[in-house]
Symmetry: C2
DNA sequence: CTGTATCCGATATGATACTG
DNA sequence: CAGTATCATATCGGATACAG
């Protein structure tokens, strides 16, 4: 996703590079609603993700300090993930983004209902 | 970057898929500060981007209705790009993200200055 | 249960050269 | 000026199989 990112030094890109990529925002979303989730629970809630990719996303989120990993050396091992304080701060911003996305979707549906099929740029414009 | 994105139906991913990818947030940022920029001006302000990638980013932003392309068939042709209304709405959200990014950077610098080198997760945590 | 190790194919990036 | 065309490389995502 995100390793060699941020060629511009733009601070936004720095954060976006950490949270982007398929599944990542959804993982953050799940964690913010559930406080803590185990690896298997995340897997179950994201049906189509592979273990490899889920692991990869969690490791990267951990590396950037957005997610905390709690490992209990029981048998079998128990690992749960939760948002760090920063992860929670980020969620507030993402919620803003989410609201914009939902509003646009609604506007688009209204418009398409009235005018029939259009392409994205036409719909978005007005 | 962004073509087959949004496997989760998460609305955030839908927008993030449109604006992410190297350079894209920076392009939006430049356009929001300058009202309108020509292709060559964007090129000059983003020194390391290739014409191909810049074109690709602009086409995608245009397709999602965030950027408007104004083509004047003069000789030589004059093309300028500006944010649509949606592009401007988005900028507000990005600014929030930007503020968080800047705050974190500052916190991190302070912490590193006090404690010496750490990795990202250590720095972010606290 | 919680991951790693591999392999593969698709996609994106970047450099270079060329055009209306 | 504002791109397009082409090619080479790198990276990523996903499937599968295996391990502590």
């Amino acid at each position: 996703m995100t390793a060699k990112h941020n060629p511009t030094q733009c601070p936004m890109e720095s954060i976006l590079g950490q949270i982007m990529g398929p599944w990542t925002p959804y993982i953050l979303w799940l964690l913010s609603n559930e406080k803590a989730l185990r690896f298997g629970e995340l897997s179950a809630r994201i049906p189509d993700i592979s273990a490899k990719v889920l692991t990869d996303r969690l490791r990267k989120l951990e590396a950037s300090g957005l997610v905390h990993r709690d490992y209990q050396p029981t048998v079998p091992p128990t690992v749960s993930y939760s948002l760090t304080e920063r992860g929670q701060e980020l969620h507030c911003v993402l919620q803003g983004l989410n609201e914009v996305a939902l509003r646009w979707d609604e506007e688009d549906r209204d418009k398409v209902a009235k005018n029939g099929m259009m392409d994205a740029a036409e719909v978005a414009a007005d």
